[in-house]
């Protein structure tokens, strides 16, 4: 691996920054790891879900009598088996939850809103009987006109998904319903004055295809209800506490009556922060009295689970001849899918965030259409707006004859730069990623015919929030670290590393686990690149409580004042608090193992827990360099070289962080070149499988080269910034800019698949 680390402030750390063997590696490669579909119970039934064949239809009636009469069928449910929910948006704007929508997404009521929308479900003694029962359910549909494209969905004569939906965010409110759920607008400075002062203005239109997160593991859940009405679930998700809360709400239960066990997860990328099969399996179990397992097929995943939004965008940037950007204007229209809630707010906030621009306007529309409801996908919203902004930035650099990296560097945001959403940036890191690429020899290397080089940048917030951790010292001095964070990207390893560093013991003396919802306090989802930062803070805090307790136990053993014991290098050491804390040499240091052996006589088990609501999560910046070769005969684009430079704060386990950087880029390359949903005229998906929905595989790609820029975050004990998401943000624009450099054609619509590249070559329109 050609990896490089730039660490301007590398402290002497013994465990942080090392690359120990991952604790989940052996179970995964030997098949012992237990994913959501791997759990079974005695008496278990198989659940299956009947899905709509129509993109948009009114449900006149559902007759389940024949299915219920089929031998082996133990329960049949429809939306009538779930309590109605109040129509209200609760929670934050960006992710406002409306349970009236959520229950209808889990099981359709008045209408089906996309092909694959769940209509009914059965539980039976075998998968074959369940499938046969589904075929006996008679649904009488009134098929309605449908709309999928976002621009078409915003048209005045578009078919309406909800006949009473009035756009939020417009004053006064519109008097007619539409598919536009919400309008958002951010402003900074005086946009008109900014453009009036510009020497050059570039305006471009863009469209991006909706893409799926492409996780390898389909959704699966096992549910069991006991006779007392308490439910228990085993499912792979990005947050078992969220699964618990949503499932309880949709079933009309108390949160405390639902226990969720975390399973290993085969990828999520944001798509498993929501629920689909969990309340259905639970409702079938409650009705049948048996445990029920539901496993989605790949086709189910494509047709019925959240992709990210497709979009239609316009970006206008005004610049002085010397390269100073004076105004930027963005219009971002996002598909939300069947229910409101696209990440368009994020898109409006992130698009221009890397830059110091005095005058900014950023407008977004959240638009429903007949597709599965969108779900989060890796820095949700930001990659989409970045494709438009960073492509336009490249066109501006070409227009004024300026190097594209130096153009970005000249306008880079720094500490104190105001943002379009209000606050000033509080952290550095962006300019360092640009400089890393400028300094890379690849940037000036010669290119052959039909080859091109492109660069782009991106911004993502990174999150903090609520997390819990518990640290137990075992009898032999080994340590268990339990957290409530699902491990998707290697968090068990990073938690063990941070615990080992704080306790001063070896990595292999620490075992990190993910605890179920009854065994640890509330912990927010594994998403937003928050876990190493926020849950890591909880782990460090719990370990510090443990070292304080260990010192107290040592002081008891030595019969000295508590203040005369300190924890250094994994041992309690006797010092003289009255002599500047100098070591006395009176007592041999006591190791964690030695104190653990005396736990009973010094007070019992040594355990500590910590709960945090972590703030001060520094944002992530990434800059990327892509080299491509375009085949002018076929329009095929081959990525020859890709370098990602990302500010990661501090890499706790560098191999995992490099993997995050590479993974984000690979997903971005798929988004850029190949991935799209293909529908027929009736709104039915034609490519619901990995043979026809083309995600990149290893043979499509060069080794993704990583540069981990480390500008430590002072708000974290080890300087951590989130590392999992911003890497995908610049990728599509970097590829597009490289294609433009290679063939002189600027592609503005994703995916940039061979037919589109050929069409651009044939058009003669220079980029």
């Amino acid at each position: 691996m050609d990896a490089k680390t730039i660490a301007p402030d590398q402290k002497a750390l013994k465990v942080v920054g090392t690359r120990p063997v991952r604790p989940d590696g052996a179970p995964k490669v030997t098949g012992l790891a237990r994913y959501g579909a791997d759990f079974s119970l005695p008496g278990m039934l198989w659940g299956d879900i009947l899905r709509s064949p129509h993109a948009h239809a009114r449900i006149r009636s559902i007759d389940t009598s024949k299915a219920r009469a089929l031998p082996g069928v133990k329960a049949v449910i429809t939306a009538a088996d779930f309590p109605e929910q109040k129509y209200e948006f609760v929670g934050p704007e960006r992710v406002a939850i409306n349970y009236w929508h959520m229950t209808r997404n889990v099981m359709a009521r008045e209408k089906v809103l996309y092909e694959g929308h769940a209509v009914a479900a059965v539980a039976a003694v075998s998968r074959a009987v369940a499938a046969a029962a589904l075929r006996l359910i008679a649904v009488d549909y009134e098929v309605l006109p449908h709309v999928i494209d976002v621009d078409a969905a915003m048209a005045p004569d578009a078919p309406l998904l909800f006949e009473d939906m009035i756009t939020r965010g417009i004053e006064p409110a519109p008097d007619k319903p539409s598919n536009i759920s919400k309008r958002v607008e951010l402003n900074l400075g005086d946009i008109e004055a900014g453009f009036a002062a510009a020497d050059e203005i570039v305006e471009m239109n863009f469209k991006t295809a909706p893409v799926h997160q492409g996780y390898i593991e389909p959704h699966a859940c096992l549910a069991r209800f006991d006779s007392g009405g308490q439910g228990e679930l085993w499912s792979a998700s990005q947050g078992h506490f969220v699964v618990r809360a949503y499932t309880a709400q949709l079933l009309g239960m108390n949160i405390g009556d639902v226990l969720v066990h975390p399973a290993e997860i085969g990828g999520g990328f944001g798509g498993k922060t929501v629920i689909y099969v969990e309340p259905v399996a639970a409702a079938l179990s409650r009705k049948s009295g048996h445990p029920v397992k539901i496993m989605m097929s790949r086709e189910d995943v494509f047709k019925a689970t959240g992709p990210t939004s497709g979009s239609s965008m316009t970006v206008r940037i005004g610049v002085k001849k010397d390269g100073k950007i004076v105004a930027a204007d963005g219009l971002f229209k996002f598909q939300a899918g069947a229910f409101p809630g696209s990440p368009v707010m994020n898109a409006t906030m992130c698009g221009f965030a890397p830059y110091n621009i005095a005058n900014v306007r950023s407008v977004g529309y959240d638009v429903v259409s007949n597709r599965p409801k969108s779900a989060a996908y890796r820095a949700p919203g930001s990659p989409i707006s970045a494709f438009a902004v960073e492509s336009t930035m490249d066109a501006v650099a070409v227009r004024i004859g300026m190097d594209p990296l130096k153009f970005r560097l000249a306008n880079a945001s720094r500490t104190g730069t105001p943002t379009a959403w209000g606050p000033k940036h509080a952290h550095e890191g962006y300019a360092e990623t640009l400089q890393a690429l400028l300094d890379h020899p690849a940037y000036q290397a010669p290119l052959a015919k039909n080859q091109g080089r492109g660069v782009a940048s991106g911004f993502w917030f990174n999150n903090g929030g609520e997390s819990c951790a518990t640290v137990h010292v075992n009898e032999d001095g080994t340590v268990v670290v339990a957290t409530g964070s699902m491990d998707i990207g290697g968090s068990r390893a990073s938690m063990a590393i941070m615990a080992a560093e704080t306790l001063g013991i070896a990595y292999d003396r620490v075992r990190a686990i993910v605890a179920d919802t009854a065994s640890i306090g509330y912990t927010h989802v594994t998403g937003g690149s928050r876990v190493t930062f926020a849950t890591g803070m909880a782990v460090v805090e719990a370990c510090r409580k443990v070292t304080a307790e260990l010192c107290a136990r040592a002081a008891m053993i030595w019969k000295v004042d508590r203040e005369d014991a300190v924890w250094e290098d994994g041992c309690a050491r006797h010092v003289d608090k009255n002599d500047k804390g100098k070591s006395t040499g009176k007592f041999e240091p006591l190791s964690l193992k030695a104190i653990a052996a005396k736990r009973a006589v010094t007070g019992g088990p040594i355990v500590a827990e910590a709960a945090v609501n972590a703030g001060g999560a520094a944002p992530g910046f990434a800059s990327e360099l892509c080299e491509v070769e375009v085949d002018p005969e076929t329009g095929s684009v081959k990525v020859l070289r890709f370098i990602v430079a990302q500010d990661v704060g501090r890499a706790i386990h560098p191999s995992y962080v490099e993997g995050q950087l590479q993974g984000g880029v690979v997903q971005g390359i798929g988004w850029a070149l190949n991935e799209e949903y293909i529908y027929d005229d009736a709104g039915r998906l034609l490519n619901a499988g990995f043979l026809d929905y083309r995600i990149p595989v290893a043979s499509d790609l060069p080794m993704i080269e990583t540069i981990m820029v480390e500008v430590p975050n002072p708000n974290h004990p080890f300087g951590v910034k989130g590392a999992g998401e911003v890497n995908i943000v610049p990728t599509m624009a970097a590829v597009a800019n490289a294609i433009n450099h290679a063939i002189g054609r600027r592609l503005t619509e994703l995916p940039m698949s061979p037919p589109k590249v050929l069409a651009a070559l044939d058009s003669g329109a220079k980029g």
């Binding site: 606050p423 509080a426 989130g722």
Partner: protein, 86 residues
């Protein structure tokens, strides 16, 4: 009491519903709790909205809304949309 009031800005577009469009305030406060209570006193219901539906940037550092945040004199406070990642 703080030497200089905090500059408080409401970015969340939904706040206009409570404030009649007012977005920027100067509030003397030592903690974020003081800010939220003062805004709620002026615009009943706004406090709960801020607690449940926004994040807060204090001098640029983004936090979950919490009563316990200490404020320096003259600090800048922006209530912004919560961010949810993937």
């Amino acid at each position: 009491m703080a030497d200089a009031p905090a500059r408080v800005v409401l970015i969340s577009s939904l706040c206009g519903h409570y404030t009649g469009g007012a977005k920027e305030f100067e509030i003397e406060a030592q903690t974020l709790y003081d800010v939220i209570r003062e805004l709620d006193a002026r615009y009943p219901g706004l406090g709960e909205h801020l607690e449940d539906e926004t994040s807060v940037a204090i001098d640029g550092e983004i936090h979950e809304v919490g009563y316990y945040h200490q404020l320096r004199p003259g600090c800048e406070i922006f209530f912004i949309p919560k961010i949810e990642g993937g």
